[in-house]
Symmetry: C2
Subunit: 446 residues, 2 copies
């Protein structure tokens, strides 16, 4: 499970060897610890003329204690470069991006942040502006691949009227919580989002269900949601016994043993939640997932059925009954776990990739239907994450997975968990239907 | 420019070495030659119960002279496996995919075809069906990576009421014209498309403009559009002189020397077209493009401005004036040339990737506005194509580009040209707003 190469590359001797031989150079990523400041230094904020976001974003960041400067200096190391591109209404105007980023391309600290703010093409006034705003994606993805040293780069489309709802996202992206999220496009919708009373405990008073919680990514999700203040129900199959109890204990939560693929399981879960003092649930994380890899020629029916059943049908059935019975409370959050394989496809994983592409479909098709009930549904799509599962991969595949991304290393379960916690925040009320990869900007894609 | 490794791998000695050492094994792809049959063997057509496409597709293929069978045999080599998945309305129903593909996963010939037909998620009756239909993408992309031997795999969403318009697409995908197109999702809209009088000359009577036509991909586009019956205006900058004249002569068309980035150039082009006997233009291919690679830190203003200007602003200005003056005739076709870099981003290409992401934005934002005028707009996004440009790449990058795709080889200019010719066909009247990669299913993506 340990990435020995990354440890070596960050040792005294290793740094010399890596530089001499031009080997991949995985930086130590800045990850969040409770009490950390949001940004580890000053943030340079620029804007194309006529933009609508720089002013509200500057205020929001200053209120959050972030040091914002609007005039850059070549001698300063910035924690982030943020550019409001909403004023760009045609392709000639894209020049403002070059003017802003060129002088400061080498001024970011390790694990620095690039954030470009735009208007989603579908929300623009016409094709000229839509084209220019769509262009931003080419810039942010290229910068993510170019800047290196743990710098992440994102494009955040903020709907007109959604300016006040950007705080949870900016806090997430600026902080070490998003260490392994890069090259993503995030859409924030119009409307207000309630600010948590305490941004260190945004989930206080919320009840969260995490499936597949006994191990790996699921265990980390339970821990992070608990850290952020949620009361956690850690669910896994009966066979997970002790490991599940440990996770629940560490999260000061409850363990629930249930095989969600059983016919009556969703109804039993609904009964359990309905009977609880909370009268329902606030956060549902569909993390449980399995792989049963074989090529199509060698696959048998049971591998197909079990993977589709656990990864896709079970979350659908759980959502259905909880929503029908009104057990997901207003302000609720549903988070699915997709995968890069569901986006790009993968050899030997037709069953898994089909199920994970389905999770994306589930999120995108359900989001509009839940908007009226103040419930959001989003998905994370992990890339190569260091778990017991990936530790068992053949060396060549494992090393490829680790290095073929902008961070030159695998992610950690906590990186997936932090992204889910961001979706779960009350501050993310206007974020729905998003699929955000947690993949260090893996080269793989569609 | 020659892929010496592929030539070696396909030699007698090479085949032995490649197999012994487990090296990449680039097959000789079946490419189209005039007079070829559509499919090089029988096509197995299956369907999930309740599907709406198997019957019209079977008729359409039989009329086109394709041998369709609906009951498979393990002893037959099929040219294609086509599956109508429109009957799948929930995730449990996805099992029909396994049942169809599992027994025949090894029954495809070299350069065989997998085509899954579905209903676009946004056109389904609800989230259950939308989820299942979105899942298909995980299957087709995985099969593309798994089957090898030049087999391509696509997902084609056909809108209800668009059944009769699928012929141009099925002919394209089954034939050698789509040799290097794999892992794509294509959307065919509702409505009828006129069948060309002669499918070997579908562009007869059409006038086509190709920019950047003097060399490489542009020269191939001019040749292929001419082969398909179009009268071609080959446009390039004045400096391209002799090369441009050669291309125009070979296409039995006209050469037009014009620098489209000049202020008055779009107006001069419009004047030229208005004065012609044709009274306008039917097909506009915005192929002209340049690269001026540098990292953001090392880039200068002129590299930024020239790349955005040629690749994005010029096509926008040309479209604007031709559309304003009504010079793109009803039944018209506009085709842009994007790039994998515009989808995935690329180190050292922020300017290029920004411009090519913009081409995607241009296509997607303009398509709905042109529908009422019976004009379509689409884009191709080439991956690694063997041209004089890629021949100059450093060896390591070039070999990576060639091998990191499902075909284990680079594409040819003709592969891009054939894809553009498919968009340009009268039979593709209901295909608009699509971006189709010509990349051999490159691993790179977003």
């Amino acid at each position: 499970m340990a990435d020995r190469y990354a440890n070596f590359a960050n040792s005294g001797l290793g740094r010399t060897v890596v530089k001499r031989l031009g080997l991949p150079d995985p930086p130590r990523l800045r990850r969040y610890r409770p009490g950390d400041t949001i940004a580890a230094g000053p943030v340079l904020l620029g804007a194309a003329p006529g933009g609508r976001l720089a002013e509200p974003v500057a205020k929001l960041l200053e209120n959050a204690g972030v040091g914002v400067v609007e005039t850059g200096s070549a001698d300063t190391r910035y924690a982030a470069l943020i550019f409001d591109a909403t004023g760009i209404t045609d392709s000639a105007g894209l020049r403002a991006l070059f003017d802003f980023f060129h002088p400061y391309a080498r001024s970011l600290s390790v694990s620095g942040r690039v954030i470009v703010l735009g208007t989603a093409p579908e929300a623009t006034a016409g094709p000229k502006e839509a084209t220019a705003q769509r262009s931003l994606e080419g810039l942010t993805r290229s910068i993510g691949k170019e800047f290196g040293r743990g710098v992440t780069s994102q494009l955040v489309y903020i709907a007109p009227g959604g300016e006040q709802s950007a705080e949870s996202t900016l806090r997430f992206l600026l902080s070490g919580r998003s260490a392994y999220v890069s090259g993503q496009v995030i859409r924030i919708g119009a409307g207000d989002a309630p600010a948590p009373a305490d941004w260190e405990k945004p989930l206080a008073g919320k009840l969260a269900l995490v499936t597949g919680a006994a191990r790996g990514i699921g265990a980390s999700i339970a821990a992070i949601l608990a850290r952020d203040g949620a009361e956690v129900i850690a669910l896994d199959v009966p066979g997970a016994g002790d490991a599940l109890a440990d996770v629940a204990n560490r999260a000061k939560g409850r363990a629930l043993q249930l095989d969600l693929t059983a016919d009556d399981a969703p109804a039993r879960l609904a009964g359990y939640l309905a009977a609880g003092a909370h009268g329902g649930i606030d956060i549902v994380v569909h993390n449980a997932g399995i792989t049963r890899d074989k090529t199509v020629a060698k696959m048998d029916e049971s591998r197909w059925d079990s993977v589709i059943g656990v990864n896709l049908t079970a979350p659908e059935r759980v959502n259905d009954i909880l929503l029908e019975q009104g057990l997901i409370r207003s302000g609720g959050r549903i988070v699915g776990v997709a995968s890069i394989a569901g986006i790009a496809g993968n050899r030997g994983q037709t069953n898994y990739a089909t199920s994970k592409a389905g999770v994306i479909g589930l999120v995108q098709s359900t989001a509009p239907l839940l908007a009226g009930r103040q419930i959001t549904i989003n998905a994370v799509a992990p890339g190569f994450i260091e778990t017991a599962m990936t530790a068992k991969m053949p060396l060549g595949l494992r090393e490829a997975g680790r290095r073929l991304n902008s961070m030159s290393q695998g992610g950690l379960p906590v990186d997936v968990a932090e992204t889910i916690a961001w979706f779960a925040s009350p501050g993310s009320a206007t974020i729905t239907g998003n699929v955000v990869r947690v993949c260090g900007q893996s080269l793989l894609g569609a």
